[in-house]
Amino acid sequence: MSEEFKLEVVNPEKSFLSKDDVTEVVVPAFEGEMGILKDHISIISFLKPGIIKIYSKLGEEKYYVEDGIIEFKNNNLSILTSSIFDIKDMEKSKIDEMLRAAEEETAKDNISDQAKYLIDQKIEVLRTIN
């Protein structure tokens, strides 16, 4: 029996990625990383900044996301996100710029704890990519 399921990644502008042969997807869910395999229970969750790893026959693909929602149902995984980048396409200068912006943001003292947590996460992830 095949262990593959469908994955669709959409952002507001277009359908970013659509595959029907993925075997495992690891998403940075809000309460920790979550690996999804075929026949996972229906779930809705949202994402924090992190890396989505997609495993298929072709190997592993990595994408950086800042936020989003995932829905898994009937072996269809939908990821809705407004900011997703293929890590291969991310240039170092861009990462540096994003890092700097995030660091500026976290230095402000009027942000909420949750926002601060998210930004700290973002910085951490960006540093690992870098």
Binding site: M34, I69, K73, S78
Partner: protein, 291 residues
């Protein structure tokens, strides 16, 4: 009757107007293609978002304490209307159709004694509304500098709306935009976004029980503001496709009208030229006869 020279000038000027409208039609057609593509590409996101919200709002355990963006403030005294129009003119009835729709809604509201606040997106709507409803407009947003509708702009608008909602400046929020049906038909729409109206549609309903992580309430609180951005973005995409469609058909009409006018003027020109020739001939002949 106008002199020959005047007629000649008029024909030339109508012809050059026709050239302009023709060019504008071409440009609009090209842009329409792109805007339509964008609108189609943007659909999966908003549809999925809608589905998730639907599933969530069904699964929510405590309806009383549901987030206010979903359930509303419990009042409907102050209405916020977001009127989305274009930044450019020359697009037929595009802007005035939205304004008409909005105005009839406004007058119904004031008939019911409700308070009205307006946010205009796009400068054309602001121009048309400020004469009558100038004191009601609390904000005017315009994206003259962005070429295409983009999500970043939509988020800006939704941030303003949500902030005002949190300050309890209004109870109900409705957006006005044109839905793109085809090149000649755009349907002005009024869509309520706060509190969210969930269409009870059996098709979209799922029997599954979802697992939520974290719990429903928290996801909803995070999701609802995003949904507002998504809805506004959808409206912007529909609007930009409609705008180009409306402009294209308006310019097509203008080109055709100009063509008709050129024909008419040419006939008039030829006729008066012939009349002048005949007159001259008569003069010559009667001059020769009198000799």
């Amino acid at each position: 009757m106008a002199s020959l020279d005047d007629l000649k000038k008029r024909i030339a000027s109508v012809k050059s107007t026709q050239k302009i409208t023709k060019a504008m039609k071409m440009v609009a057609a090209a842009k329409l293609k792109r805007a339509q593509d964008n609108a189609e590409k943007g659909r999966p996101y908003s549809e999925k978002m809608n589905n998730i919200i639907l599933n969530l709002s069904e699964g929510i355990s405590d309806k009383e304490n549901a987030p206010k963006l979903l359930s509303g403030t419990g009042k409907d005294q102050i209405h916020l209307c977001v009127v989305m129009t274009s930044d450019r003119g020359l697009c037929g009835g595009f802007n005035s159709n939205i304004i008409k729709k909005a105005k009839s809604y406004f007058s119904r509201l004031s008939g019911e004694g409700k308070e009205l606040k307006i946010i205009t997106v796009g400068s054309k709507g602001n121009d048309q509304l400020k004469r009558v409803f100038g004191d009601k407009i609390i904000e005017n947003i315009s994206f003259k500098n962005s070429k295409n509708a983009n999500f970043f702009d939509a988020e800006k608008v939704s941030k303003i709306i949500i902030e005002k909602f949190k300050k309890e400046e209004f109870d109900i929020c409705t957006i006005f935009f044109n839905q793109f049906k085809n090149v000649i038909t755009q349907i002005p729409q009024a869509q309520q976004i706060i509190p969210l109206k969930t269409d009870i549609d059996d098709k979209g309903k799922s029997e599954d029980n979802y697992e939520f992580e974290p719990d429903e309430d928290e996801i909803l609180t995070n999701l609802l503001p995003k949904n507002i951005s998504t809805q506004i973005f959808k409206a912007m995409l529909e609007n930009s496709a409609s705008e180009q469609g409306a402009r294209m058909s308006a310019m097509d009409n203008a080109t055709r009208n100009a063509g008709e006018m050129v024909d008419k003027l040419t006939i008039e020109y030829n006729r008066s030229r012939q009349a002048a020739i005949t007159k001259e001939l008569i003069e010559i002949i009667s001059g020769a006869e009198s000799l």
